[in-house]
């Protein structure tokens, strides 16, 4: 048994090493004075300084954040509405909608990317011709922030649906009816009863959409036009002489992600503690009574 435990530990360390060593190396070399990716030339922060002067990176970061927030918000609203609507559908209709929703989830990203690209190529071409004829001046629709937003919303939507739907199904159907009986308008009942109930799922759907949108490269690559999101900027960096700024960027991204996760965890733990304390107090009060 002892040997088994040791083996197990060695195995775990090996796998986690495999997962983390490349990232650790990347981060370590962000502090490298020399430009080399394999030789250590002394400690330096200059790549961080350069990074914060790299307008292309900063701009693309701004674009990424803008697209992520906007598309996640729109997807969350549309998806939540859809979840409610679908919840009221018959079994068969719901199955059909769900199947459609699975298409972008299971389809390879590259297929999703090129299919929407083709759609926009066809649409932009036809629409430009039409508008040119209509307005009498040359109009040329092209890829850009709008097409990027549309594709991001599209691949976020199913995740919102899949997050919110189960929560809705768990919810007591009578809750909404009770609210109506107690004199709420349907609107009030929705905002005061239903929405708070499904809020955690909606929030997590929003966060998932946000991360998917920030992280996406392949679909954006085919649909972004002149706009550069952060992953596209990173890609164009790796295709040239690679500056260690890319390491600095990795280190910062890693730190930000770690901070967010730790914060979320601390927040969770605090809430649990509060809940436990409240529970104890009620028990104690009940005991008193």
């Amino acid at each position: 048994m002892k040997r088994g435990r040791l083996l197990k530990r060695v195995y775990m360390v090996a796998v986690f090493g495999f997962l983390y060593i490349p990232i650790a190396v990347l981060i370590a070399f962000s502090f490298n004075e020399s430009k080399s990716r394999a030789v250590w030339g002394g400690f330096s922060l200059k790549w961080y300084v350069n990074l914060f002067h790299n307008e292309m990176i900063l701009q693309s970061l701004a674009v990424s954040l803008f697209v992520a927030f906007l598309s996640a918000s729109i997807a969350t609203v549309l998806g939540t509405l859809a979840a409610i609507g679908i919840n009221n559908m018959g079994r068969r209709a719901r199955g059909a909608v769900m199947t459609l929703s699975y298409v972008p989830v299971v389809n390879p990203e590259i297929v999703t990317g090129v299919s929407t690209m083709l759609l926009f190529v066809v649409f932009n071409g036809q629409m430009s011709k039409f508008l040119t004829a209509l307005l009498g001046t040359e109009v040329r629709l092209s890829f850009g922030i709008v097409t990027l937003l549309i594709t991001h919303i599209t691949f976020c939507l199913p995740y919102v649906l899949f997050n919110v739907s189960p929560k809705l199904r768990q919810m007591d159907v009578h809750l909404y009816e009770a609210a109506l009986d107690l004199g709420c308008s349907p609107r009030q009942a929705f905002f005061k009863v239903v929405l708070p109930e499904i809020m955690p799922a909606v929030l997590s759907a929003f966060l998932i959409s946000l991360t998917y949108s920030i992280d996406d490269f392949i679909i954006s690559y085919f649909n972004s036009g002149t706009v550069q999101t952060l992953p596209i900027a990173i890609y164009s960096m790796t295709k040239k002489r690679v500056s260690p700024e890319i390491n600095a960027l990795s280190a910062i991204m890693f730190a930000v992600i770690l901070a967010i996760i730790l914060a979320a965890n601390a927040f969770d733990a605090a809430r649990e503690r509060r809940l436990a304390r409240a529970l104890r107090r009620t028990q104690w009060e009940a005991g008193q009574g």
Binding site: V49, F52, N124, S142, G144, T226, K240, R241, L262
Partner: protein
């Protein structure tokens, strides 16, 4: 979260402060009589689409050309890069973006002109066109200088690592790229036109195939080469050659000079059979939103200090008349940068190919890249149908199983 955020803000602020010191701008001296400030405060953004590593970007104390332009004119520049003429073409053709300035090469400019993809330039807005050397004007791709203003020219050569390559082997010329002695140590162009040009030179043909047979012959040559090629690259070549990951790589002379400056073990030679002489020029694609501002950018690129900074940084030969005299001797007298007339006579420019040869080459390129014995044409439809049937069967089986368990 708050603590972490504060920590981060502090770090950020520190980094920003630390970074303020370098990169203070010295105003570029531009020629008089041109109003660079007429678009100030109009909130214009120019989309400039250029090759990677093809502009002086402020690194190592060089001039940051884009930033200088922004400061001078108040026009914002969204500067992005492509890696091959063909990907530029694909992107533009798909309506892939509203670019204002693009910098394709000779044959691609000709193709784009033929397909009505370029806007005619108003040379009244580009007075610096006068500074372009006559040898780079009225090129076959744009005989009347209506669509393009030359940016650079140069030749293609072979970069090699002196410690890994036997100098005597260099006499093979292009053939060294097929030499089994260097198997696994050879990098090759990752774009169709340049790759096919080398194969054509090997075969003693023109860079501009006259028939699809010539294309096929070149493709066969490239397939043969696959066994010795380590990787197909474009600008990745910089890191790979400087980092001594490979021994030989054909590439543009200007970039070769840049690589040699970064690693003294590297050398470059121009094969005796002759090579491709290319020219890249600035153009404005059809439908550009800010044509006049784009012309201003092109004019700015031809200003002597700007052209000089770019030339010193990218080491491509400049068509701007005043630049060569201002260059340090090691560049202005470099055989790689300004080859002698004798050698240039051996060189050939790429021309626009007829459509059928072009598409034959496009297809042949996919073939070369994925090369292996071609299977029977019917194999694929059959495999597809079989797969679909199998998938349908699986779904049906599952459904049946489920029905059974439900009862």
């Amino acid at each position: 979260m708050n603590g972490a955020k504060k920590f981060f803000c502090t770090i950020l602020a520190l980094l920003l402060c630390a970074g303020l010191a370098p990169g203070a701008l010295a105003q570029v001296e531009v020629r008089g009589g041109y109003d660079y400030t007429r678009f100030r405060d109009q909130d214009i953004t120019l989309n400039v689409y250029n090759w990677g590593e093809y502009i002086s970007d402020g690194e190592d104390g060089s001039m940051d050309v884009v930033q200088e332009f922004e400061e001078l004119t108040g026009i914002r520049v969204n500067y992005t890069t492509f890696d091959t003429n063909e990907s530029l073409y694909a992107k533009l053709k798909s309506g892939g973006g509203d670019y204002d300035v693009i910098i394709p090469s000779d044959y691609m400019i000709g193709k784009m002109i033929n397909e009505g993809m370029l806007e005619e330039l108003d040379m009244g807005n580009i007075p610096n066109f006068d500074l372009i050397d006559d040898s780079c004007k009225s090129q076959p791709y744009d005989p009347d200088n209506r669509y393009s203003v030359a940016y650079t020219w140069g030749v293609v050569g072979i970069v090699y690592n002196k410690t890994m390559v036997d100098e005597a082997d260099l006499e093979q010329g292009w053939g060294i790229l097929w030499d089994p002695k260097y198997a696994g140590n050879i990098l090759m162009f990752n774009n169709s036109r340049d790759a096919f040009a080398i194969a054509a030179k090997m075969l003693g043909n023109s860079l501009n195939p006259a028939s699809t047979d010539e294309v096929d012959a070149a493709a066969a040559k490239l397939k043969e080469q696959k066994a010795v090629v380590q990787a197909y690259v474009m600008d990745e070549v910089f890191d790979k050659m400087i980092g001594e990951e490979a021994a030989l790589a054909p590439y543009y002379a200007g970039d070769g000079i840049t690589m040699m400056a970064d690693n003294e073990n590297l050398g470059m030679f121009l094969p005796a059979e002759g090579t491709n002489r290319f020219g890249d020029a600035m153009c404005i694609p059809k439908g550009a939103r800010n044509k006049e501002a784009a012309e201003m950018f092109i004019n700015f690129m031809c200003e002597t200090p700007v052209a000089l900074a770019n030339t010193e940084y990218i080491c491509y030969s400049s068509p701007q008349k005043e630049v060569r005299a201002l260059l340090p001797a090691e560049l202005s007298e470099s055989e790689l940068m300004y080859p002698g007339q004798e050698y240039l006579a051996l060189c050939e420019a790429m021309l626009v190919l007829p459509d059928d040869i072009n598409s034959a080459m496009d297809r042949a390129w996919s073939d070369v890249r994925s090369y292996d014995t071609s299977g029977n044409g019917w194999i694929f439809p059959i495999i597809l149908a079989a797969m679909l049937a199998l998938a349908a069967f699986n779904y049906w089986r599952r459904a049946a199983q489920k029905r059974r368990t439900e009862f």
